[in-house]
């Protein structure tokens, strides 16, 4: 049974992302745990793929560090098993790794193993709804959630096709582009939330959220959760470059997480009733 819905039960969900194994397995364990301490309601764990076509430079670099540190799907599952956190976990990776895992072709072995180690759901940036059939089936079989990304450009039939398959939450891409920290939180976010209003699944907004202020704005605008990746990966990268201890970096992550979580909570209070979104 996926625990994803729990994340959205008590107000806005703060959903941090880290690439597992960045910069190494042990530090990464500490970092993920620090995120929970900082208030994470759900954690997206990145399983690095060699061709991360949807990522910006920050997360690309994290992927390179992790792969160079020997991260593999098998190690990833060991990591999840070893991880001492209580919040729901979503695995974010590219479809080829899911497809290749195990003895039979297709996504079933990966999902089975993931379910076994405690992964609650999946986000697969290079798997649009059209190609998602087999993975959706495996998720159903093992009672996992399949999160889809909705872009500012996603409209009409495409949106319906995605919303037919999504479960857990919908990942609302705040603006066009790839993952990465950026100052502005786009107007496109509000429009996307408007389009999604008719569906009853939680809407978590990601791409470009760096500060508590951003988080508050996004939640005030109607989001059910915020997803933050690059701003956290930046902290890992900086610590790695400066040779800081894992504990120091973990502290910083926890602080940043708390800022973001607090921002999200503040956002709820700033919400104004929206005429078009009932």
């Amino acid at each position: 049974m996926s625990r994803v819905p729990e994340a959205f039960e008590d107000g806005p969900a703060f959903i941090p992302y880290l690439a597992v194994g960045d910069p190494d397995y042990e530090s990464s364990l500490e970092y993920v745990e620090a995120l929970e301490r900082g208030g994470a309601d759900l954690i997206e764990l990145g399983l690095p793929f060699s061709e991360p076509i949807a990522e910006g430079p920050t997360i690309q670099s994290a992927v390179v560090r992790s792969l160079e540190g020997g991260m593999t799907p098998t190690r990833f599952f060991e990591f999840v098993e070893e991880l001492d956190v209580d919040v729901p976990l979503v695995c974010m990776t590219y479809y080829n790794l899911i497809y290749q895992y195990g003895d039979e072709p297709g996504p079933r072995p990966f999902v089975e193993k993931a379910a076994e180690v405690g992964i609650d759901g999946f986000v697969v940036p290079d798997l649009p709804a059209e190609e998602a059939g087999p993975l959706r089936e495996a998720c159903d079989e093992f009672d996992r959630d399949l999160v889809f990304i909705v872009a500012p450009t996603t409209r009409g039939e495409r949106l319906e096709r995605i919303m037919d398959q999504v479960s857990g939450y919908v990942y609302v891409q705040a603006r066009l582009g790839v993952t990465g920290a950026q100052e502005d939180v786009s107007d496109q976010t509000g429009q996307s939330l408007d389009r999604l209003a008719q569906w009853d699944v939680p809407k978590a907004v990601g791409f470009g959220i760096k500060t508590g202020e951003h988080a508050a704005n996004i939640v005030a605008g109607g989001a059910d959760g915020i997803i933050v990746g690059s701003a956290l990966v930046d902290i890992v990268a900086e610590g790695h470059e400066n040779g800081d201890s894992a504990a120091e970096v973990a502290d910083r992550l926890e602080t940043k997480a708390r800022e973001l979580k607090d921002g999200a909570l503040r956002g709820v209070e700033q919400r104004v009733p929206h005429p078009e979104r009932q």
Binding site: T72, N96, Y99, P128, E131, I149, T153, T154, R158, L176
Partner: protein, 408 residues
């Protein structure tokens, strides 16, 4: 959008509307010739591109191998390779679609130069992503792009080759999708690219088939084309696929060995049709070089134009269907074939192309009475590599390399 189980559209959601828009444009303009798109394309291919290219009998190779060897001279296309067929088609399509900007990736630089030329010709701004390592291997091509007015963006991530450049271009496209068209350089990527690029390139086999009938009153027994991503391959094969008597050979880069080093994630070859497994890369399901986890391997070839871990999904399908025969030759054989064609036919081929001739050399006895080899490009761009790579090997037919010291 599928070739059996291959193909598909494995791309970030942000790109899907653009891909659907492209699919629609492909169907209307390319398949249905709306607004006379295909007429204009064919006219520009002729006047700007220099088509049709000859189907030339290779007198000395014919004598050497005791059979009729014909060359489809794509090296004579403007820019020096078949690449313009596709680049011109896509840039023109972008204009018809009202796009304002072109991005493209390039490996050996041939697709980048072709795209830069097409974009200059059609007056649309153009940015080319190219791996830093490839930039260093193919400087003349970089300069050509710049001189044609294109921006060249170095990609420093990873190994700095074609696959990183493709990923980077996809990222650009994901950000700019509303105004920008991404000109993919081969029959790879999400649908409709593999079909569309094949259609633009199929002019090669359309001409070759007609020229075969005119020049020797029939169809060839075999068609040989080198295969990296596979655009010249599909272009050379497309109109022969239904001719069961014509054997189609996709000649891949065997590199230094067909073995792989799983530990290092390195395949010292680019033979994804011959040795690769089913997987998903750059938007499509196809055959590719990957480790057991599904991580993409570093591919290798003496020819940077073939140095790619994937291959067009339609080729993967045609190989599974046993319609296309996947074969490969190693770096040494390709270099030897490069020198052979240069010396014996007066045609300096691209190193990519040389692979097809190396296979002809090795297996001519099994290729029937009449063989067509697709000369996918010329080798001017490869002079530096050829000098360097020949110098470190014992290539029996190489010219004395001493006067090449100091490079270009």
């Amino acid at each position: 959008g599928k070739f059996g189980d291959y193909g598909g559209q494995y791309v970030p959601e942000a790109l899907m509307p653009a891909i659907e828009e492209l699919e629609d444009a492909y169907e209307r303009y390319v398949l249905e010739n709306e607004d006379g798109f295909m007429d204009e394309f064919r006219r520009r291919l002729r006047d700007f591109g220099g088509r049709p290219t000859p189907l030339q009998r290779a007198d000395r190779l014919s004598e050497r191998y005791d059979r009729e060897v014909y060359l489809k001279r794509e090296d004579l296309v403007h820019g020096g390779a078949h690449k313009l067929n596709n680049a011109l088609g896509q840039v023109l399509l972008a204009k018809y679609m009202g796009k304002e900007r072109i991005v493209a990736e390039t490996g050996a630089g041939q697709h980048g130069t072709a795209t830069a030329m097409a974009a200059a010709h059609l007056d649309i701004p153009c940015e080319i992503y190219m791996g830093k390592r490839d930039i260093n291997r193919q400087r003349p091509n970089v300069f050509r792009m710049r001189i044609n007015g294109a921006e060249v963006n170095p990609v420093t991530v990873g190994r700095g080759t074609l696959k990183e450049a493709i990923s980077e271009t996809m990222r650009d496209w994901a950000t700019t999708v509303e105004t920008t068209h991404y000109v993919i350089g081969s029959v790879v990527g999400p649908h409709p690219f593999p079909s569309m690029v094949r259609d633009f390139q199929s002019v090669i086999s359309k001409e070759a088939r007609k020229q075969s009938r005119e020049q020797f009153g029939g169809l060839p027994d075999s068609v040989l084309a080198c295969a990296g991503g596979g655009s010249n391959t599909m272009g050379a094969f497309a109109n022969f696929v239904d001719d069961e008597g014509v054997d189609l050979y996709a000649v891949e880069a065997g590199g230094s060995s067909l073995d792989v080093d799983e530990e290092k994630g390195v395949a010292p070859n680019s033979a994804s049709l011959s040795t690769g497994g089913d997987g998903i890369l750059h938007g499509a399901r196809t055959k590719l070089l990957q480790d057991r986890d599904g991580q993409i391997m570093e591919s290798h070839s003496v020819s940077s134009g073939l140095d790619y871990a994937g291959v067009g999904p339609e080729l993967a399908y045609l190989v599974d269907e046993r319609r296309v025969i996947p074969v490969n030759v190693d770096d040494d054989a390709a270099l030897e074939a490069f020198h052979r064609l240069s010396q014996e036919e007066g045609i300096i081929p691209a190193l990519e192309t040389a692979h097809a001739f190396a296979y002809l050399h090795e297996e001519y006895e099994n290729l029937g009475e009449t063989v067509v080899v697709n000369v996918s490009g010329r080798g001017d761009k490869d002079l530096e590599s050829v000098i360097e790579e020949t110098s470190k090997r014992n290539i029996p037919n190489a010219p004395d390399m001493s006067m090449f010291q100091g490079g270009l």
